[in-house]
């Protein structure tokens, strides 16, 4: 609220995801702490896809006259909660019944099955995973806030313990406690805010008809992320831009493998070309498409994507300090919450 220069009592809308926040930090709790009289609250999807879809709901509320100042928020305590991110999947009946007895309970194992299939077809991806781990660490070091303190080198990557083969510790995102929020309001109200507003050019969500139970094991050939292509196409069309207009992409890097698959799914390169795209340096800060300029989920923190939104805003306002890109005008934030996929386009 302070960053926006808007009094908390002006807030009359509260938006978050529909999967995690309602059972942990619901809208009424946030509104009570702000001293806000709610006229609108709503949620969509969950986690990272949910925060990318949040502006869709906020915009609908603003356009429909249901709210004038909307706070969109998300947070997790998976860094200190006993079962962390793994407990989340206990909510899925088939996973609990048919997978848990075999020790298939954790996200690193899910994505390891995908990584194995991918590596069998594209062995160069092993080097791309290492490159991504190092690149995210380098970006994180440019902030003063990253959770990962020890820089990842190629040597330390290959020495990091294997979690679920072929994925090592440094192929996996961090586990964190933390939260974040952004404020949306009308163009006219934003004019006299404390800082220059950033414009939401698009907010899109796509999800194929498959359950969260099935999506990790039964979907296609396990190397195609559901929804990514559809959400990206919708977002670009909504924003009326092309991929080549993007100055950065804050991609949902829950794992190095999922980062590679998203580069393909989002259409930055062809199917099977994600590893080469990374190894050719295109995602570095001086490359064609700088990604996760703050170090992402792999090296900055794991707040499921709200930190990607905050970083995108910092970049567009020129507030990213040592990690600042050269005058970016437009960028995307993506969220992967299988089977849901969200894309947000932000511009100056």
């Amino acid at each position: 609220m302070d960053d926006a220069g808007i009094r908390p009592s002006e807030v009359d809308g509260v938006v978050s995801d529909a999967g995690i926040m309602p059972n942990t930090v619901p809208a009424e709790f946030v509104a009570a702490h702000l001293g806000a009289n709610r006229r609108f609250s709503c949620g969509s999807s969950f986690g990272g896809a949910g925060i990318c879809a949040a502006p869709m709901l906020a915009e609908a509320a603003l356009a429909g006259g249901h709210a004038s100042v909307v706070v969109c928020y998300f947070g997790v305590d998976w860094g200190s909660a006993p079962s962390g991110p793994y407990g989340f999947h206990d909510a899925y009946p088939a996973k609990r019944t048919f997978e848990k007895p075999y020790g298939f309970i954790a996200q690193p194992s899910y994505f390891a099955l995908w990584a194995r299939r991918y590596l069998n077809r594209h062995p160069e991806a092993l080097a791309a995973f290492a490159e991504l781990a190092v690149l995210h660490s380098e970006n994180a070091q440019k902030t003063t806030r990253s959770q990962l303190r020890n820089p990842t080198t190629l040597e330390s990557y290959y020495n990091s313990p294997v979690v679920s083969d072929p994925l090592r510790v440094r192929d996996c995102c961090l586990i964190s406690d933390g939260a974040g929020a952004f404020v949306m309001t009308s163009r006219s109200r934003a004019r006299d805010c404390r800082k220059r507003p950033v414009h939401v050019l698009a907010s899109a969500l796509a999800a194929p008809p498959i359950t969260g139970d099935d999506v990790f094991t039964q979907n296609g050939n396990l190397t195609e992320l559901p929804g990514a292509s559809e959400a990206m196409t919708a977002a670009l069309s909504m924003a009326n831009i092309d991929r080549s207009d993007l100055d950065f992409a804050q991609i949902y890097d829950c794992f190095t493998i999922s980062c590679v698959l998203q580069l393909e799914g989002l259409g930055f390169c062809g199917e099977g070309e994600g590893a080469s795209y990374v190894l050719d340096g295109h995602v570095r800060r001086n490359g064609r498409l700088p990604i996760n300029t703050h170090g992402g989920l792999l090296a900055y923190s794991y707040r499921l994507g709200i930190e990607h939104v905050v970083e995108a805003v910092r970049q567009l306002r020129g507030e990213a300090g040592a990690g600042q890109l050269d005058d970016p005008q437009v960028g995307i934030v993506t969220g992967l919450s299988m089977p849901d996929y969200g894309v947000m386009v932000l511009g100056r």
Partner: protein, 143 residues
């Protein structure tokens, strides 16, 4: 010889799998209307919407679709010896089904895509089915 190995809180549509395992068989749900298998179990066919779901026993032999060797004890998981291998297995006589299981009786370095596998059913402490390489199975059979 054994109690019906089903958990009282288990979803109704999941039970036939465990009832078949208790009888030493693997079975999967198949739609009588369109003829397709599906997994995980549903009340109606995800492809055509028919409620005419019949569970069909299969031969049990499968092939390895993907796998991971788990070296980490994830919080929330009961203690188990590390490392262990999680496999995703397909079946020629139940196309459209991929089963999560453990691969036993082999070394992770010997695994490969489409590796032929044979089932190893255990009824205690709960009915589960692991898989081992077909070569291992025949060695055991001949010993």
């Amino acid at each position: 010889m054994t109690e019906a190995p089903v958990n009282g809180t288990m979803a109704q549509e999941f039970r036939p799998f465990f009832e078949a395992l208790a009888g030493g068989c693997i079975s999967f749900p198949r739609c009588d209307t369109c003829g397709r298998f599906h997994w995980y179990p549903r009340y109606w066919c995800p492809y055509c919407g028919s409620v005419a779901i019949q569970w069909r026993k299969i031969d049990g032999r499968g092939t390895l679709y993907s796998w991971t060797t788990v070296h980490h004890a994830f919080s929330g998981d009961p203690p188990r010896p590390l490392p262990y291998i999680v496999g995703l297995v397909e079946f020629a006589d139940a196309p459209g089904v991929r089963l999560i299981t453990n691969i036993v009786g082999t070394d992770p370095a010997r695994l490969f895509e489409n590796m032929p596998l044979a089932p190893v059913i255990s009824l205690t402490p709960q009915p589960t089915v692991a898989f081992e390489p077909v070569e291992t199975a025949s060695e055991v059979a001949h010993s």
